[in-house]
Symmetry: C2
Subunit: 252 residues, 2 copies
Amino acid sequence: MAKQDTVLRAHAPWCRNCPLRALPAFADFDEAELRFMERFKVEHRLVLTGAELILEGTKQPQFATLFSGWALRYRKLADGRRHNLAVLLPGDLIGLDSVVCDASQVSVQAVTDLTYCAFDVRGTAGLRAVEARIAHRILSRAVDDLRRQERRSVTAAVGSARERLAAFFIDLHSRLLRLRLADEASFSFPLTQQHVADHLGINVVHVNRIMRGLREAGMLHMEDHTIVIDDRPAIELAARIHIDTVAAVPLI
Amino acid sequence: MAKQDTVLRAHAPWCRNCPLRALPAFADFDEAELRFMERFKVEHRLVLTGAELILEGTKQPQFATLFSGWALRYRKLADGRRHNLAVLLPGDLIGLDSVVCDASQVSVQAVTDLTYCAFDVRGTAGLRAVEARIAHRILSRAVDDLRRQERRSVTAAVGSARERLAAFFIDLHSRLLRLRLADEASFSFPLTQQHVADHLGINVVHVNRIMRGLREAGMLHMEDHTIVIDDRPAIELAARIHIDTVAAVPLI
DNA sequence: CGTTCTGTTGAGACGCATCAATACATGTGG
DNA sequence: CCACATGTATTGATGCGTCTCAACAGAACG
């Protein structure tokens, strides 16, 4: 690992004036919820590229939401390979299962420098004591995550490599648009082709070939860590089976 | 559909003396939770083989837990094919997303005659009012479901057809054992090979071939709707990457 | 007793993995 | 500063796993 794991207390915005919550993607909080969040959030942390936020097999007294940057939720497989379960973007929940269950079955790794908000639940009993409306928001998020993972299951099971890649970029573009981290035609993209391959279950070499195919078909291409969407309708068509109206389920 | 959709009020056990809760797989309820459940559960329904419990795109004021029988949570794909997201067994949660979200993105279909317990949440506001400990159990279930779906994503993405089938039967056998619906060497199995194929994303023809392979390797075979486990260690080996300690997260 | 579902097997085509090699970029230490 | 190692993108050749099409036997069902 090139950079050293670093966890710092950063001077950062707190819930009352959270810039994320101002986005249309997030539901607004009433005064009671805001007051609760101010006690609930215990820290704002900074993590450098490559560092691990959560390690498989550990139990945490806290969970978090990503505030800025990109992360990957992943599992190490028995044969040494790696599978990326989800690309985590600002606003996404991290480590809920490490609170609810005995031990997390997944790890989370920063793929850019990032910051996140840590919430202390002091064990399961603490989570039970969470304000009812907040608890409902957390449940909504878990269900949302479940739905995304179900879509992934479908795509992985029935889709071709081309369909998977097309669906992947459409999904990512939609999510980034909601966060104002993309414009209509392009977005910054810190993942390597190896990351993408490990996410979609396709060999790196083949990812590269499909990317060439999409480029030559005039759909999308990459230029220095930026994805450029050349023909979104065509990409949607290529991902035909796997597109949904991604219902926004806001939280925190 | 051969049999007519039928929803009956059945004479059935209620929460206080629920036989499912007596199983080791389920956590016990204290008196306060039991009292809550007695108000919460509104009906015990019977559904015949082939009937739909939930239709994609609908919103329900209720969710449910399966009480007896088997069901499949599935999605219809744009090209007419079908993908089975999960095999639902007694105790499993049904239709949580139809309560939390605007509309369910999945359907649920009975593959045997079955009964289920319906809980009325009178919309999202009702779910917020749910007793805190019950709400936490529901969240635990959602997270458990998420973890199973994540494992499925991994298996679908990186596993061969043989690994997927082996992992599928191991997972099923473990779950049925916890419910005392299987013994060490066999369990009743109402799914067709087409169901299995649509669940694992493998062609029916190929499922059949792999099944033959497993039979000839002395691992498992099927005789009139019963799976016979001939060599469980060998099956676990064949599914090597995809085995986890399936952490029991009890509810309701 | 036919009709429809399910299981079963064969032959051929195609997608993707694998192995191998090169070019380019990046960061590192001498 | 260059020399070097390391990570990433890219392309070719080859083989295996799985899909597809096709056919048939047995079971289930009305």
